[in-house]
């Protein structure tokens, strides 16, 4: 998530700056569980102050990677550095890292205060200082009036705050969050996403979260690593991941997307020409050198498509079909348009008119267009 107000225009982000030193460095990490490769030669750099998300479906290895950072598990091969220190062989209880567990893992026999204080007691902090730190955390997360309650007397949202307070109390160098919003209901989740980002900006601790929810990752993260089958497929800012996915997997995992298969058959300046099925010819912006005949996939986001004839520009691609399904979501409607017996194209249109004046109905013939710069050419 770009935060323009903090930055000078044109300033480099840490990950774009070749002189910047990564805060967390994961190098060639492999983790085997018997025969299963939970992580396969993963390398990743995370910079100080980032809100970094590991995104992927279940079983992609994202939680394993988080546990390796916490020290709750150790890699079969590879090394991990945090703030310049090789922590690979340092046990969890001596790492300057704290974790917020998916289940929160609050100690049921201790009240909120004792839970937050737990980590501070372990490092033998003097009592007065401990009390001060606990107070600071209670204030930070607005849970002061819950201090004497036990976890079973708290709501889901309150528990989440207590868990967060407990993991932040030791001022860790790195905060790991395992599905931090997974146990909250939808409305609270949206609200908490923004709060979490604000909190992270205020305290400046580097956050690494694990999530399977792409919307959550998009909202909160400075950068996202999309993972699949124990490997990192793409690491980039939410915008870049969405607009310029590097593979079919990333394109279809993040948001919805229309994929057209085809082969390169020509080039004009910065554009290539792709021949798809059913005589579909597409012109796409592509700076990558691709030889003629290369099979490619063209990815077009549903909201990048427009209805003809209204806004057709020069050189736009067109595809026609008839409306098969309409999902009315209030602000937008999603249309499924069958363009060939095998393919349905998804089209998202903002509902700028009241519903009664909707432009499309079932079975209607439509032609959609998109500009050459709106399609992404994928070879993987």
């Amino acid at each position: 998530m770009a935060r323009p107000e903090d930055r000078e225009p044109g300033a480099l982000e840490a990950w774009q700056d070749p002189r910047a030193r990564p805060y967390v460095r994961i190098e060639g990490v492999t983790r085997l569980f018997g025969e299963v490769r939970a992580l396969n030669d993963v390398s990743l750099d995370i910079y100080q102050g980032e809100f970094f998300s590991l995104l992927g479906g279940s079983g992609c290895g994202k939680s394993t990677l988080l546990r390796l950072l916490a020290g709750l598990d150790s890699p079969t091969r590879g090394r991990i550095w945090i703030d310049g220190v090789d922590v690979t062989d340092i046990p969890a209880y001596r790492r300057p890292v704290n974790m917020m567990f998916q289940s929160y893992a609050l100690f049921p026999h201790m009240n909120v205060e004792a839970n937050i204080e737990f980590g501070l007691r372990q490092e033998k902090m003097p009592r007065a200082e401990r009390a001060e730190r606990v107070g600071e955390m209670l204030d930070l997360l607005h849970i002061g009036d819950l201090r004497k309650r036990r976890p079973d007397q708290l709501s889901g949202g309150q528990r989440q705050r207590v868990a967060l307070a407990r993991s932040l109390a030791k001022h860790p160098k790195l905060l790991l969050l395992d599905e931090p919003l997974g146990a909250l209901d939808k409305k609270l989740r949206t609200h908490t996403q923004f709060e979490l980002v604000k909190l992270q900006e205020r305290i400046g601790i580097t956050f690494v979260t694990v999530t399977h929810d792409q919307e959550e990752a998009m909202t909160m993260s400075s950068r996202i690593a999309v993972m699949d089958a124990g490997q990192i497929i793409q690491v980039d800012t939410p915008g870049a991941i969405y607009e310029y996915p590097n593979s079919r997997m990333v394109a279809s995992f993040i948001g919805s997307v229309n994929l057209f298969e085809g082969k390169v058959f020509g080039r004009e300046d910065n554009d290539i020409l792709v021949a798809g099925d059913d005589y579909l010819v597409m012109r796409l912006r592509c700076l990558q050198p691709l030889s003629l005949g290369t099979p490619v996939t063209v990815a077009v986001r549903p909201e990048k498509m427009r209805l003809c004839p209204e806004c057709e520009g020069p050189g736009d691609n067109r595809v026609s079909g008839h409306v098969e399904d309409i999902a009315y979501l209030g602000n937008v409607s999603i249309y499924h348009v069958r363009v060939s017996p095998e393919q349905v194209v998804t089209l998202t249109l903002a509902n700028m008119q009241p519903r009664t004046e909707q432009m499309l109905t079932w079975g209607q013939e439509v032609t959609m267009s998109w500009s050459p710069v709106c399609g992404v050419v994928l070879t993987e």
Partner: protein
């Protein structure tokens, strides 16, 4: 029984609400009927005997009531048995010794049973059933036979002594049988499953992410055990300890078979009074004092626990 008595306060309101549902009445009434028949009634009978005096007759105790005249019913309540039980040095020693044996055995069972239960609870799934089986399997042999087997192990030329002699660790047989030590060994062995099973039930439910959270917050494994596992297993420890302590205090067979003349225990005295001395009233008084001694800490524990839950 304590838990049910708390529930009985609402029984009448419930009964009133269910007046037209006899099925429910039977349902709720059955356990009460059971308790009345097999707990309360025997208790009343024993209480009544304890207030009588022994006599050589059938039954071997006097009746509490007697018609002295046509219209005069004389009630004779003999409190002497209770006075004797409380004041006599011998009985007092027996009670203290029984409580002591109960306490030491409970601690012994806890010290051995906790690691066992922990090991089973953290063992891989396919091992658990086998390990639990090994705990339960001895129950399939008669309790008496198992205690007798210990005589064979502990006696002068028994298995243990022969083994230690063969190893050269001792020069002459140890006198273990018919001592207090033998009683402890027998009791701890016999009652260990009662400690292990409730502890296992408790520990197997322990959320392991809590230990991970403790480690993450800077706890070494041993401290994590002390600050998380141990406090959370307190209900299991309590349940196991009560299951061991209560029957051990009244235990009769083990001290009789393995103990010596010094292992004076209430259970054994009860037996002697009932069957050797035929003094049923005194035996009943002993039984009632024992019951009181066991119920008081039990109620206190229940109170304490419910207060703990309320907080």
């Amino acid at each position: 029984m304590i838990a049910i008595s708390g529930f009985s306060g609402t029984l009448f309101t419930r009964l009133r609400a269910w007046r037209w549902q006899p099925g429910r009445l039977v349902n709720i009434g059955l356990p009460y009927f059971w308790l009345l028949l097999f707990f309360f009634l025997p208790f009343v009978i024993v209480f009544q005997i304890s207030l009588a005096e022994p006599q050589i007759a059938q039954p071997p105790y006097t009746a509490l009531t007697e018609w002295v005249d046509e219209a005069v019913l004389q009630v004779r309540l003999n409190l002497g048995n209770f006075v004797l039980v409380v004041e006599d040095e011998l009985y007092r020693a027996a009670f203290l010794n029984s409580l002591w044996v109960g306490l030491v055995s409970t601690l012994g069972c806890l010290l051995i049973g906790y690691p066992m239960a922990y090991a089973i609870a953290t063992a891989p799934e396919r091992w658990r059933v086998i390990l639990l089986m090994m705990i339960i399997l001895p129950f399939w042999t008669s309790f008496l036979i198992r205690v007798y087997a210990w005589i064979g192990i502990l006696k002068g030329n028994g298995l243990l002594n022969n083994f230690l002699l063969a190893l050269g660790l001792i020069d002459e047989p140890l006198a273990i049988l018919h001592t207090q030590t033998a009683v402890y060994i027998g009791v701890v062995y016999s009652y260990l499953p009662f400690m292990v099973l409730p502890l296992y039930a408790n520990l197997s439910r322990l959320d392991l992410t809590l230990l991970e959270a403790a480690a993450d917050l800077g706890c070494r494994p041993w401290r994590a055990f002390l600050r998380v596992t141990l406090p959370l297993s307190l209900p299991g420890i309590l349940a196991g300890s009560l299951l061991v302590f209560i029957p051990v205090v009244g235990e009769f067979v083990i001290p009789d078979l393995l103990g010596g003349p010094d292992s004076l225990m209430v259970g054994r005295m009860l037996w002697t009074e009932f069957f050797s001395n035929k003094d049923w009233p005194l035996a009943s008084a002993l039984a009632l004092v024992l019951l009181a001694l066991l119920v008081v800490p039990f109620v206190a524990l229940q109170r304490w626990q419910s207060r703990l839950d309320a907080h």
